[in-house]
Point group: C2
């Protein structure tokens, strides 16, 4: 692989920073979890950065951005690379900026924490819990390996969203400090309406160097699996539990049979192929309320609870069966499985779920996550899809959309296609200001590259590095 | 006042306990806040206990109940007597048992507290906050003067119910320890489904001697008043704020104009008679989100915030303007004011409010409290009613009910009439078991006294002590 002169010059100018020298490490640090999607895998598998730099602090981030700007080198920023929409993939090579050294926790107060973007969600929670019995309101199922910065730049919600809603909801991010990519990078502080400029923008218009997040109390959540033989009983169970205002929960997932039997190895012997399973995290002081709720539903049986079980080998954290870990577990058993990200909005959520299941099961198995949106309990679907062809996948997407189930397509690498298929004017306007040369994570914002794109087919970034 | 022989005998047998000797104190300890209702005032003003005893612990509670059982003496149990449905009024005289000595906090753990019933809500919160930065999920606006036992035995919800729902919701009471009134009183522990037997039962079927409640984090809530010139704008503001999943609130009250101008003395100079006012408690780490929310609503203006104001004289706690403190403030200015307790259920809540306002304003001024019920934001109405006659009050109640706005009639002293006008079979069944002689707070449970009552008119307890 030959490096263009401008890239080599930028790399040389940054030689005093932590630059990865190992070829294999460069390759692995150029990749995220895009390969959950066969569509993205077919298109992005060859992508690799020219160099990977890991700044130690904001001053070094500024230096990377200034030097790369001067040499016209694209910069794709990443945390742990656990995202699934290809958001950390360097479409034109160049520089991958890895924030793994920026792990500082600067302040913890009642209800809030200030930290750097590269800290793992797990480590951030550990710090908050040790300091004052607190934890972040929500996290991705990749809690053990993902960073808070990556979660904000690429995530939408997760474990905790059944109570607190999504990251984009007012109050779920307090403040972001952002560096621009200009001749002389600026450092900006965003709150309130300004947060939408850079949150969930894949680092296309600024680099987050400091984060202030709200906290919730950290409880010793009781993690459970509950089994139902009827899928809709299970979906209603999860919804009704989330609607119990006095029972505090952090997770309510539903996995349609036979997914738990087929894909959850450690549940073998505890479930049959008829069992739809509900994954739960319930506050310990809500367990009395939960047991009362459960007692009213003889169709549901608890098969595991973390605080009281006789399993020879525990299943590990229950949230590592939910959100996109469900897909990961299925993929490991059956590599032909991929997924969709669906919004089943209130008040039609249960009807839509039933309709899509009637239409597609077992080609598409329902995996639901309880979510709050505008104060109402509804479902995010991370449906398990038995992949055959791209055409069939597109057809499945279309049928969902026609039924009124919005799709956030995880088989696309642009912000627009993975979102609501509309241009986010705030993100675009801020990119014009903060990234005038269009060097930040290129190819991920259609509005920047091709304002007239009509979304009639998958966007293909023309400047993407070609496979060899 | 002559004391019947059996009562005198019971009093004598309890002479070693703390028995009130002062006549005026006996009178004041025989009264609660029933006089918010002109209907109850006309019927209950003369009621007085024969004696008042204040047990120091559960053993003394048992002794009181055993002795009074033996002598056929009615026992009406009370905390601070801040309730409004006459629930602590001794209908047949006899013994009033005052729990003011039973103020122990036995255990505080993450998410839960165990305490005795006579502790003031304020003191319970102070203990939980000092121990571990926690507080109870919800409390009545009489927080400073009311007891936790009275709240559970007579309350339904309050400040905090916008987030946590009502006391009757699963998980909002963990455990109650209850003493029966039998020849040999028994001590029972209730959890789960059993809680409904004695919570909100006015002490008619058992005496609560220990309470386990869930806790939430105690934040330095930012208390605010927000003014809107349009009433429905204000109602929507409160509802929409409560639907913001990422903004943590503890109170959202709406007071229709001109109530704030007319009745809230300390708001003079800050509001006009056109201003409908919203009372709020917002978590400090949600203030950024709140200000963003506010910025989108130019029709609303913040007139007071507890953490930043230049008021010469502060208004005191904002929650002391909400729930039934609104009525109290109005009553102090205009003694002809009374109130109704209304349920404006989801999803018709806003329409119902508007309809009732169109029908009755200004004879009835809307006072709304945001409440969660089955996971949905809706309103409790504690409407301010300009009282004229009982017939007109009954008509106002009827028109609400016909429109679909359920009334919990605070002008009635029985559990059924102040509730859903249906017999609670669980409470009745437990009374049969726990109070076979029917001595506990007599006259408050119609199902016990008159199973065939048809609710066509106000219930009148035939054995009620007659006015002299």
């Amino acid at each position: 692989m030959t490096m263009p002169d401008n890239v080599a010059a930028a790399k040389a100018a940054l030689a005093h920073l932590d630059i990865e020298q190992n070829e294999n490490a460069i390759k692995s640090k150029s990749r995220d979890f895009f390969w959950y999607s066969p569509v993205l895998k077919a298109r992005m598998d060859h992508l690799v950065a020219d160099f990977v730099v890991s700044p130690r602090n904001e001053a070094e981030v500024i230096e990377v951005l200034r030097i790369c700007y001067a040499h016209d080198v694209p910069v794709t920023t990443r945390g742990a690379g656990t995202g699934n929409y290809g958001q950390a993939m360097p479409m034109r090579g160049g520089c991958v900026m890895h924030l793994r050294h920026m792990t500082g926790v600067k302040e913890i107060a009642p209800g809030r924490v200030i930290c750097e973007p590269g800290i793992l969600l797990k480590d951030l929670d550990a710090a908050c819990k040790a300091d004052s019995g607190q934890e972040i309101r929500m996290f991705s199922s990749t809690w053990a390996t993902a960073t808070i910065g990556g979660f904000i730049a690429g995530g939408s919600g997760g474990v905790g969203s059944c109570t607190w809603g999504s990251l984009r909801d007012l109050g779920n991010i307090i403040r972001l400090r952002v560096v621009t990519m200009e001749e002389e990078p600026r450092v900006l502080e965003f709150r309130g309406e300004e947060l939408a400029r850079v949150s969930h923008a894949y680092g296309t218009n600024g680099i987050i160097t400091e984060i202030e997040m709200p906290l919730a109390p950290a409880y010793d959540w009781v993690e459970m699996f509950v089994a139902c033989e009827d899928f809709m009983d299970a979906a209603r169970f999860a919804e009704e539990l989330a609607n119990e205002d006095g029972i505090l929960i952090k997770l309510a997932s539903v996995y349609e049979a036979p997914a738990p039997f087929d894909y959850f190895q450690r549940l073998k012997g505890h479930v049959t192929d008829k069992d739809t399973v509900i994954g739960l995290m319930v506050a310990p002081h809500s367990m009395d309320g939960f047991e009362t709720f459960l007692g009213r539903r003889p169709q549901a049986r608890v098969i595991y609870r973390s605080d009281d079980n006789d399993w020879a080998r525990g299943p590990g954290p229950v949230f590592e069966y939910g959100w996109n870990h469900t897909t990961l577990r299925a993929l490991k058993v059956d590599p032909s499985i991929t997924y969709l990200q669906v919004r089943y909005g209130f008040p039609e959520h249960l009807n839509l779920v039933e309709k899509m299941r009637d239409e597609f099961s077992p080609e598409v198995l329902q995996h639901l996550e309880v979510l709050r949106e505008n104060g109402k309990v509804m479902f995010a679907g991370l449906s398990l899809v038995k992949f055959t062809t791209e055409a069939r996948l597109d057809e499945i997407v279309r049928i969902h959309e026609e039924a009124g189930a919005m799709i956030f397509n995880p088989h696309r690498y642009t912000l627009e296609e993975g979102g609501r298929q509309t241009v986010d004017d705030r993100q675009l306007a801020f990119k014009r200001e903060a990234d005038p040369k269009g060097l930040l994570n290129p190819g991920k914002m259609i509005a920047w590259d091709d304002p007239d794109f009509d979304f009639s087919e998958m966007y293909a970034y023309p400047k993407m590095t070609a496979a060899e």
